[in-house]
């Protein structure tokens, strides 16, 4: 039983079907009586809610601390600008300028200021919504337009991961900092790809990342039947398990485009997700036997 197991659904390439796989996996796991959490960490463009249609019952703002300068106390010594590595605060002649979008909230300027002229000011970077999608616990982060502190918001979303359930994390696409933050301290990564040259190219990047952070992983091939055999040959050569092949099917695309769950409206594909769920249970057992289950999950309540 894949309870107390955190699975990240990621992909190098965008548009391969991360959310499709993550949401349907959550749905299938819930149908089979498991406790499931779905956490949308694709905070720049969260879309899990379109398919899971949760009832949102709680929400909160996520803020970071940015410097606020009291010009009465400031002696324009310039130390704040010298310590800031991001150009977010700078002393120009007789005034101090702040650029909140560039601030990384390191707190350096608050500490270095000997005039106590700089105090932390909360700046909203995004929101987190929680609710229920049937039996699925739903959590989703949404970054405010124009903000760039994606990993910070993802970290906050991941604080909602609970023990005693299968937590499915919908990861942003790519291989950059937000992805690293989203897969960090998870138990297992599912890399969703498509059997095209683009899919393969970006899969290789994602595999390199996941190997670098030393997480166990497997591949899901979506739209199986299009493109060529190169993805499967690559996985075979690299000894990477392919745990699911979801066929390319117009009816799947139709269900997707009307915001419906494949596992719900296309019964013949439900077993694909049920099987994936069972396979994840087996993977968890194997990892457990090998002593490879993550034990660094400090934030999990």
């Amino acid at each position: 039983m894949p309870d107390d197991f955190v699975v990240a659904v990621a992909s190098g390439k965008g548009g391969t079907g991360k959310t499709t796989i993550a949401a349907n996996l959550a749905w299938a796991a819930c149908e089979s009586g498991r406790k499931v959490q779905y956490l949308d960490c694709d905070v720049e463009e969260p879309n899990g809610h379109i398919f899971l249609r949760p009832d949102i019952t709680a929400g909160r703002q996520v803020t970071i601390d940015v410097p606020q300068v009291d010009s009465e106390k400031c002696t324009t010594c310039g130390k704040c600008g010298q310590i800031c590595q991001y150009g977010a605060i700078i002393c120009i002649k007789d005034s101090v300028l702040t650029f909140e979008q560039l601030c990384h909230s390191c707190g350096g300027c608050f500490r270095i200021c000997s005039d106590e002229a700089i105090t932390p000011k909360p700046l909203e970077i995004g929101t987190i919504e929680c609710g229920k999608a049937g039996g699925i616990d739903f959590v989703s982060g949404k970054l405010n337009v124009g903000h760039v502190r994606t990993p910070t918001l993802i970290k906050e979303v991941k604080k909602y991961i609970r023990k005693e359930c299968l937590a499915i994390i919908d990861v942003p696409p790519g291989t950059s900092c937000p992805v690293v933050e989203a897969i960090k301290d998870t138990d297992f990564v599912l890399l969703v790809t498509e059997p095209t040259p683009f899919g393969l190219n970006d899969l290789k990047l994602a595999v390199a990342l996941v190997r670098q952070v030393n997480l166990p992983f497997a591949v899901v091939i979506n739209r199986h039947g299009i493109g060529n055999e190169d993805v499967e040959e690559y996985c075979q050569a690299e000894n990477i398990a392919v745990v699911m092949k979801l066929p390319d099917n117009r009816r799947i695309a139709e269900a997707y485009s009307s915001g419906k769950m494949i596992a719900d409206v296309l019964k013949e594909y439900k077993e694909h997700f049920s099987k994936l769920c069972d396979d994840l249970g087996d993977i968890k057992e194997k990892l457990n036997e090998q002593g490879q289950l993550r034990i660094r999950r400090k934030n999990i309540q």
Partner: protein, 121 residues
């Protein structure tokens, strides 16, 4: 009066660099004497290039900046120090300085481009 001109090279014959924050060089000097010194721009790569470059020309004592485009963060920084900004400048640095001397340039009222313009151009 000292002015700073963004430049693609280190001489007065170099073309004006169309980017302020990520300009390769600043030619800083006096338009009356035409004595200019080239300062390589360490801010051309990395983040907050506009703010760093504005800080550089302010520290060099420039009272006016001649460039192609300037983004909002650099404009705000230059403006805080009272540095006049002239955008849309093209040609060689010598030509730009000559145009400035003859009063052929009009100071900008604000930034000419959005943030990160210089990263793609």
């Amino acid at each position: 009066m000292k002015i700073a001109v963004t430049s693609t090279g280190d001489s007065l014959d170099s073309e004006v660099d169309p980017r302020f924050g990520r300009a390769a060089f600043f030619l800083i000097g006096d338009p009356e004497t035409m004595e200019f010194a080239a300062v390589a721009n360490e801010n051309a790569a990395g983040g907050a290039a506009g703010i760093g470059s504005a800080s550089l020309v302010i520290d060099e004592g420039a009272e006016a900046v001649l460039t192609g485009h300037c983004g909002p963060n650099a404009e705000r920084t230059l403006s805080a120090a009272g540095v006049k900004l002239y955008t849309g400048v093209t040609g060689t640095v010598a030509e730009a300085v000559e145009l400035f001397r003859s009063g052929g340039l009009t100071a900008a009222e604000g930034p000419s481009v959005q943030s990160h313009f210089g990263m793609d151009n």
